[in-house]
């Protein structure tokens, strides 16, 4: 990978990082999500900027092992994160449903209070 390609990849990652942090500052992403994606992207940023890091590990462990591990850990992390997000979304949906149900109960109570108030 020549210097120009590395810089282009780094610039793209930096742009996504900026978008992630901006989303966090605008309350569109939670701190946990920002931390997760920030760590992943910063890791990708340094790997793209210094590909010799991968070469260094390759020289110690063999050529294919680091690439395989990076792919394996990346896929595992993403699957884990998606499963975690499924749980989070489901928990939010459950809370929302409970809130809607409570709203309907309270609205019914309010209506009966208004009706009894009107008849007094």
């Amino acid at each position: 990978m020549d210097l120009r390609t590395r810089l282009v990849v780094c610039a793209m990652i930096a742009a996504v990082l900026f978008w992630i942090f901006r989303s966090f500052s605008r309350h569109k992403l939670s701190s946990g999500q920002t931390l997760f994606w920030g760590t992943m992207l910063i890791g990708g940023f340094f790997t793209a900027l210094f590909p010799t890091l991968v070469d260094l590990v390759s020289s110690m462990w063999g050529t294919l092992l680091p690439v395989s591990w990076i792919s394996f850990i990346a896929i595992l992390s993403l699957i884990g994160y998606l499963m975690h997000q499924s749980m989070v979304i489901n928990a939010q949906q459950t809370r929302l449903t409970q809130l809607i149900r409570q709203t309907s109960f309270l609205e019914r109570r309010l209506r009966s209070l208004q009706e009894s108030g009107g008849s007094d």
Binding site: T97, I100, R101, T103, S104, F105, E107, R108
Partner: protein, 232 residues
């Protein structure tokens, strides 16, 4: 014995007036609860104008959550049983009263209506599905069930919380298996049914395709529920 009949309604503006009239002719307003599931038509207006006891979800939550709303209301108000009666005008109050009488005998915890106990299921995809789930529900619950998808049913107070906690899609086969494994006693009575005259069924194509898979998932989860009496 104080009961509550819950009528889940979603876009049933046209069907509701005769249903309200029929239910009011045999039960007091305090025994009825209409639950409007965030309808986009005039369902809420019809309920408001009729003066019945009603609740309204601000948004559409689906059939399962509407049933749960009815059960939770029943639990909060200390009723002895909660019954369910469809708002589409297909159920008859004479059958509902028979279900209530059967429950009051004290021999059963859950009383189910059955459209197919004394007649064959229709030769349609839905009919085949009902038959398949009747076989599954009967096999895994140990209760002879002929129509697990019937909306007319009654649940005793002791089993309401357990029913709410069960992994259920629409309170059909999975509900029967789950409660039977916990020790509930079931009765199934034949009922008559009238064809829907207005509106559309909630089982549109995408839901009909996913329904068997989701119900089987719930059956599997319900089958794994630890058996034993529920403490209240």
């Amino acid at each position: 014995m104080r009961g509550l009949i819950v009528v889940p309604a979603y876009n049933e503006e046209a069907n509701l007036p005769p249903v309200i009239e029929a239910l009011r002719s045999c039960l007091g307003d305090e025994q009825l609860l209409f639950v409007d599931d965030g309808s986009s038509d005039g369902t809420a207006r019809v309920l408001q104008e009729s003066g019945v006891n009603w609740l309204s979800h601000p948004v559409n939550l689906g059939y399962r959550e509407t049933i749960v709303t009815g059960m939770r209301w029943g639990l909060e108000h200390g009723v002895d049983f909660v019954g369910f009666f469809d708002a589409d005008g297909q159920h008859h109050t004479k059958d509902l009263m028979r279900l209530i009488e059967t429950y009051r005998s004290g021999d059963y915890d859950v009383v189910l209506g059955s459209r197919y106990q004394d007649r064959n299921t229709p030769r349609s995809a839905r009919g085949m599905g009902t038959r398949l789930f009747a076989v599954i529900a009967s096999k895994y619950s140990g209760v002879k069930v002929t129509d697990p998808t019937c909306g007319l049913k009654l649940i005793g107070r002791r089993w309401l919380q357990a029913a709410v906690d069960l992994p259920c899609e629409d309170f059909h086969a999975e509900f029967i298996i789950g409660l039977a494994r916990l020790g509930a006693r079931f009765a199934e009575l034949p009922i008559d049914i009238s064809p829907r005259t207005e509106g559309t069924s909630m089982y549109h194509l995408s839901k009909a395709v996913l329904y068997p898979a989701r119900t089987l998932l719930c059956v599997a989860a319900g089958y794994l529920v630890r058996s034993g009496p529920v403490e209240h």
